[in-house]
Every structure is written in C-alpha cells, then in structure tokens.
Symmetry: D2
Subunit: 291 residues, 4 copies
C-alpha cells in the first residue's frame, strides 16, 4: 500500500524533491501558491487548492518555503487538517525560534513537527545527493527517515530541540557565504599581484581547501563567471539576515557575518537582487579593488 505525503512549496528545490518522492512511489498531495507549477510534476499526483487540502489524511506533510512568515502562515493552515500522529517535515531555511514555536502548536494538536534542513543546490537535490540535518521529537524523526532517504545521501541528527537543524543550516550558510567572500578577496589579491586567478583557485581547491564549496564556487569566482544564475543575491541576503538575527538573539558578535551581510546588502542596494549571489559577493570585491 502506498503512503500519502502532503507536499507544499515547489520552488527550485521543492520541485526536484517532489519528483524524487513521486518516483519513489509516494502518493503526493501537492499545493503551491502558483498553482500552474504543480503541473510540472505530471500525472499521478493530487493537485490541492489549499495547504489544508494537502495535509488531509497524510502520514507526513513536507513544507519547503521561502521564509519565516510563509512557513508560519502555511503551518497555521495545514494544522486544520493534519491528522493526529502525522509528521510535519519542515525543510525551509527559517529561524530556530519559529521551529520551536510551530513544534509547540503541533504538540497541542497531537501531531509532530521536525526541522529537516538541506544543503545542496537543485542539481544535488535531483541526484539525491543532499545533506540533510534533522531535529525534533525522536519518534517523529524516525517516521520521517524513510521519506528523507529518498532525497539525500546522508541524514544527520541534531537533537530533540525542534530548531537544532535550523541552527546548523544558518551556521552552514554563513560558512558558505563567508567562504565566497574569502575566495573573492584572496583571488583578487592574487590577480592584482600578477597571478592567474584560475591557477590560484585550482591550487587551493586541490590541496588545503579540497572541499566542494571551494572547488565548485571557487571556479566560478576565479573565472568571474556569474551565469547561469543559480542562487540569487536576494535569497543569499535573506540568509545573511537570518544569521545576523540569530547572532543578535543568542548574543554572539560575528564580525565576518557583518562583513558578508554588508557585502550582500551593497549588492541589493545597487540593484543586484536577481543576480547570482556569487556575483553579488565577487563583484563587490573586484569593484572595490577598481577592477
């Protein structure tokens, strides 16, 4: 017998993940604000008109939306129908305190909320190569596990506080954005001193910094290749604001987070909201250097 999953949010990541779940044999009830997007999933799924419809009679509902406000609004709606004991798998990049608050709302209704945040671009999602971090109620995480295994190559458990996986996601996004800034500064230093940015990038990303972030993004920064657009500056800046907000809430001065925040804010102010965030950061550095 097939298992039913509600799926809400067909953004760049969501659409790919929904496809994977459909292929894995799940019966999907899908809602997206822009309804036409649902058709891209093809036949064999149930197209819903509201989040509540998507969450009715399911074992689990997945949400993957743009920000705190969207997740709060959709959750309020889906809680009207989500069955007792069902699990809400919340995969958006949001503040941990929002997760904590939503987890409480679910507890009141006798169902469950876990955060399940992901690292990886849409290509990685398509290849089921995401890294997934989960947090929240233990049995709920267990129930979600078989579902999540169809989406990623590894699941990491960050404890029982609902917001734990959100913290890891925010910390990770900060580390990624900062790495972009560092590479941009370093390669520009190399360029202005007569070296080939690409050669320098290849050296570092094949030795001391031989990790995906430095290899993949490093190449783009070295080549000043900012298209096709993958992840836009507006979203990168949204994440920088989440980092900053969490730093404020938990009282941690993070000077590099401030630098990255201001870098992306500059790109926003200069009209670059829809450009790739790598352009936002890398061109910020080269512009300041007069290149």
């Amino acid at each position: 017998m097939e298992k039913k999953i509600g799926f809400i949010g067909l953004g760049a990541m969501g659409i790919v993940m929904a496809k994977n779940l459909k292929e894995a044999g799940y019966q999907l009830q899908v809602y997206n604000r822009t309804a036409s997007k649902v058709d891209e999933l093809g036949g064999g799924i149930v197209k819903c008109n509201t989040p509540a419809e998507a969450a009715a009679n399911v074992d689990a509902v997945i949400t993957i939306l743009s920000d705190d406000a969207a997740v709060e609004e959709v959750t309020t709606a889906l809680l009207q129908t989500l069955p007792k004991n069902a699990v809400h798998i919340s995969m958006s990049t949001i503040s941990p305190d929002v997760s904590e608050k939503l987890a409480s709302l679910h507890a009141v209704q006798g169902n469950n909320y876990i955060a399940a945040t992901v690292f990886g671009r849409p290509e990685a999602a398509a290849a089921k190569k995401l890294w997934i971090c989960v947090s929240g109620d233990t049995s709920a995480k267990q129930a979600a596990k078989p579902i999540l295994e169809n989406l990623g190559q590894g699941i990491f458990d960050f404890g029982e506080n609902a917001g734990g996986a959100n913290v890891v996601k925010i910390a990770g996004n900060f580390m990624i954005a900062s790495s972009l800034e560092i590479m941009a500064e370093a390669y520009t230093l190399a360029e202005k001193n007569g070296l080939d940015r690409k050669q320098v990038s290849e050296f570092f990303s094949s030795t001391l910094f031989s990790a995906p972030i430095f290899q993949n993004y490093g190449k783009l920064i070295a080549n000043k290749q900012y298209e096709p657009v993958g992840f836009i500056t507006k979203l990168g800046y949204k994440d920088a604001r989440l980092t900053f907000k969490l730093a404020q809430q938990s009282e941690i001065p993070m000077p590099v987070a401030s630098v990255v925040h201001n870098r992306l804010l500059t790109a926003m102010a200069q009209g670059g909201a829809e450009q790739d965030w790598i352009e936002g950061i890398s061109r910020g550095v080269t512009d300041d250097a007069g290149l």
Copy 2:
C-alpha cells in the same frame, strides 16, 4: 657524486626540512643564528659560522627565516660567496616585493633567486607532505626541483616573477586564518543555541567543508583545544600584517583580512603572543560571546 646545499634557518620548519635533505643524500652546509640548534642535525653536516660560509661552493642555498628583515640581511651576507649560476631557494614567508628586490641583486651577481613557499605544519614537513609553490627564473626553478621533491608532495609553478609564490603564500595564509575565524564564529553560534560544537564541526568537515583546513583545525576549534602549541599567535599576526601590507600595496580593500588582523592584534595586546594562534582566534570569539 654528492651535491652540496647551503641551509640557513633551523626554525620549526627548517630543522625538519634539513633532516629530510640530509637523509636524501645532500651534503649540507648549515648556518643558524643560534648555533647550538645545528647539533640537532647530527653528524655528517658542515656547521657554518656565517651565512657566507654556508653559501660557499654550493649549487643551491636554502633560506627559511622569520621575516622580511631577516631574509634581506642574510641574503646580503650570502651573496658574498654564492657561486655564479647557483640558486638561492627562498622559502620564508615574506613580501613579494622583497623577493623581487633580492632577485635583482642575484641577477647582478650572475646567480639566481627563486621563491619556494610551503604550506603545511612541521608534521607535514617531516612526512615530506608539504605543498610547495615556486616562482622565478625558469631554469633556476628546474635546478631546484629535484631538491624540493625531497620536501613535499607537490610543486606548483606560479610564473617567472620572483614574488609570485610569496603572493600565493600570503593569500593562502589569509584564507587559512579567515577559515579559523569563520569556524570559531559558526561553532560558537551553534554552541550558544544548544548544539554540540564537535558534532557541528564533524558534520561540516565531512560534507561541504571536507578539506584538511576544516578537518584538522575545525576539530581543535570545536574542542577548544589549544595545546600543544603548534603555530604561535605572534607568527599568525605577522602573517596578517603581511596580508594587510600587500593589500595596501596592491590597493585591495579586504574587510575579512581586517577582521582577522584585528582579532590577532587583540590576542597580542592581551598577552597571547606565545599561545597557539587557534587560541588567539577562537578564544577571541568565545570571549566576545561571553562564554
């Protein structure tokens, strides 16, 4: 027939490299400011009283010293005896303009100067696992190659300008120091939000940041393990100053370099010159966060 090499500078890195060259069968003429240190190399080497003695009748002389001033002073001395066509392999972390200047002095005398900078801690040097960047005259680099192959696992050529490898070294040190700062900020954010620093560090260094810098240093930062002391804050700060000087010379605003510079300067001002630079950076972050 054995080849003769002058070797000047038995610091933490130099001593290990000299041992490797001795083992590889080179006949070493060794000078160190603190003469007693030379004895650690055991028998079979020539102990010299001056840099000039060490550079007499050799095919190549290696210098690996603490800063710009030391390299300039020693080079002036060794040029008195360095034979025509011999190569000075300059392995210190110094400014590229110093390398350019010294290369000119050698050219006048009919011998050669190349920069050959290294990445790796003393353990890596002992295991012949250093990454080596070279720059300068092509034939001189070729002459140096068999020697350098006894020291590292890879040699990367950064062109004919003598200072090229110094630029790469400075850019790399900047990237390393910045990575320490980023990890310290991220793991402290995680800690203050209820997560286990070690688990967070392990997650990142086994996925997106699966590179030596994040694996090795990340563990120390996660564990707040600052001993035994490997590389002291005073030297880390010296490197931060080199970065800053090069940024000034080549007119590149580097805000993250400013953050790291000030972080290490704070550690210096607070009496931490002899502590590990990981402590200097990591404790700076946790102190500011009230931990």
Copy 3:
C-alpha cells in the same frame, strides 16, 4: 481654562517631562505600567488605570515608552478613547515604519499622530533643554507646538511623513554611539603611546570637536568614569538594533554602525546590560587593547 493632556510612560525621561508639563499648568491624566511611579508626580494629576483612561477627553496624549512593541500595544489601547481631532504625540525611540502605521490608524479614527523625538539626557529634560524633532500632519504639529515648548529649547520640523523624526532620532543615536567608539579608540591610542587621555580629550573637545557630545561624553571616556550609570548598555544596544534594522530596510551598508552594534552586543554578551553604555563601548576598546 486648563488644557488636558494624557501622559503615558514614566521612564527616566517621561517622569521629568510630565513634571514640566504639570508645572506649566496642564491638567495631566497619567498612566504608567508600574502604577506606583505615578505618585512621584505628587497631587493635582489624575492617576489612570489604563492607557484608554489617560486618553479620554484630552486634546493631546503623549507616549514615551521603551520600544516598538510597547508603543504599538499602548496605541491600540488609547485609540479606543482618544477624541476626534486630538493629537497623539509619540516621543519614543521607535522605527519610522511603526510611526507610519500608527499614523494611518489614527487617520481612520479622525485624530492625529505625530512623532516628536528628543535628544538629551534626563538632566537636559529637567532643564527644558531638550532638542525636539517633529514630523507628521502640519496642523497636528502646530497643535502640539505649545505643549512641546515646555519641554525643550528648540523644535525642528522634519516634514509630513510621520516617521521623519524617528529617522532623525535613529541617525542621531548612531552618530552619538559612533562618536563614543571613536573617542574610545583615539584616547586609547593616545594612552598606549604615553599621553594623558584627559589632556587629549580636553584638547579635542575645546578645539575641533567643541560640541556637547565630545565635551560631556569625552570627559567620561577619558577618565574611564562609568558611574553613576546614566543610559544603560541594554538601551544603547536596542538603539543600535534600530539603526541596523533601518539600514536593512532602506538598503544602506553602514560599516561603522556594524562596528558599534557588535561592540554593544559584546558588552551585552559579557553581562554588561545594566552598565552605562559608555562603559560598554569604552571598556570594550580598552579590554581589546589589553589595558
């Protein structure tokens, strides 16, 4: 015939302003969350149990509260009774968008909202020496003018947008906090180079920087005199957050605002919330310098 004014908020500033208005002959209806505080105003005033009571049958109601949330909550309450054509004089340090929103709510009810922000410590308020910035509907500002003239030495009109005066207040607080940081850095530079902080402070504040901010605060920073506590770090940090939020909303990278924000956040994280914000900033600088 006496004019009736509602007065809500007896903090350090509010209590002094209420006294001045009472002395000026206004009939006050006063509400404060901690009711006992109202007794400090003595006889001849009406003590109210709710904001709505304080706003009933008045020509004007003044609010001077701690933050956005408090002003929004109290305004919702007082709008239940505030007569048509009456003016709400909003003197708290809040975001301009909150003012714009509240102005709209008043417009719907047929009464008026203006922002009237003040610069000056409680002593200045007691001496009727505040500088007052107003913004909002022109006739409402005119109606408020005779009242405000009992509180300050000058009234500056920043236009018809309700939030204008809030912007000036936030910009001014940023300039003040930054000036504290600048003085702390400069005087510490002087001290560590063998000069007398006080002499340096006196020189600057009697010549190029002969303005109240540098004269009054400069002396405290020079003397490292942090008591008695005037304005606490928690409130200074709240203002730094307001600055940062406005910079985000209006897309302006403000690197000095980031420095000051992080400086005050450090003081908060280290347990200094209740210390004078001058201590928060000045000791942050001297601590970092190892003094």
Copy 4:
C-alpha cells in the same frame, strides 16, 4: 635685530605659514624641492639650493613635508649645518617613532628637535588660526613658542617625548576621518528615508554636534559638494595608514580605523587619489547604497 629661520617645505600649508613668518619680520632661508615655488614668497627671503643651506646659521629650522621618508631625508641633510642649540621645529604629519629617532640624532649634535603638529586647512593657516600641538625638550619648546605664535591661535604642550604631538595629530586625523564616515552614513540613511540631507546636517551641527568638523565638513557631505578640492584622498589615505601603523605598533585594535582605512583604500583603487577625501569617503557610502 631680526631672527633667522630656515624653512623647508612649501606645500599647501607650508607656503601660507612661510608668508606669515615673513610678515612677522623673520628673516627666512627657504628650501623647497621644486625651487620655483619659492618665488611665490616674493622678495626679502633667501632662496636656498639644499636643506643644509637653509639650516645654516639659524636659530630655528622648520620642516613641513609629506611623509616619514621625506622628513628623515631632509633632516639628515640639514643636520650637516644646523648650529648647536638651534631648534628643528618638525611640523609634518609623521610617525612618532620617526620623531623619537630624529630627536636622538639632534641630541648627538647638540641641537634640538621638537614636534609641532597643526590642525587646520590652509585657510586657517592663512588666518593664523591653526591649533598647534608641541612635544619634546622643554627649553626647545620655549624657544619655538614665539615663532609658533605667529602661526596659530593656540599652542598645546603634550610633554617631553618628541613624538607626543605626532600621536595627537594622528589621533585627531583619525577622529576627523571617522567623523566624515559617520556623517556620510547618517545623512545617507536620512536621504534614503525621505529626508533632506542638508536639513539633517544643519540640525545636528547646530545642536549636539555643534563643532567645526561637523559644521564645515558636514555641509559638504550633506550637499555632496566635492569641489574645489581641498585635501586629496591620497593624503587622507596616507594618514589612515599612519593611524593603522601606530595601532599596530602600540597594539590597539581600532575597528573604526579599519573601516575608514578600507573606505579610503577603495577610493584609491577606484582612481580617486586626486579627488577631495570628502568625496572619497562620502561617495563610497552613497555608491554602496546605490545612490
């Protein structure tokens, strides 16, 4: 009987000061690297071909030059002829350690060196309205006093260490540059929130910030009026480097100094070396804000 003064350095400030001394009745022996500039002083002065000529047979020699290197070079030259007991009044903006070193050289020769640094633009110099800070040997300062009284409106004594007045000058330049940055950030915040920069500037500079720096520079920043060029970015940046160097030497993390340094470095990198430094700073802020 007239007193003889050597005068070396006819830059924007020097030329005006030399005129004032000539008018005050001093007999001037003048040297300038670009000799033609000396003619602007008119008749009645002795035109010299070398610094040594200018320093021969004088009671005092004044130098006001561009940087550390220029002052060191000229001093070496003038020491060949400077009479015993004569005073070298060193008015350039240089590092305090250079002053200390030069003071020692003078002591060896039996004459004196004092630092006498000035605050004020050329117009202030013309009007004898400079603020002058002195440091060094007490009797030498006393000998210099009657001369300096012809140049400024106040002389402030910063002790017996030769470099004291240099420290004050550097600290003051830092405070000025930071004030420009602060105003640029604040007025841009006001502008992007719908206010008139000029009105905001006038408000602050007539109330809390009623000091020359905020009044004079504030008006230019508010009006985005960057011509005629007064003080060029290249020199402002040179001063920012001096600040940074002194912060390094005396181990004081100065984050606002880092911001200002990077702001001016950006202007340099973007080709603005010859623009007014107010443009360098103010346009940096508005550019980042997308204005």
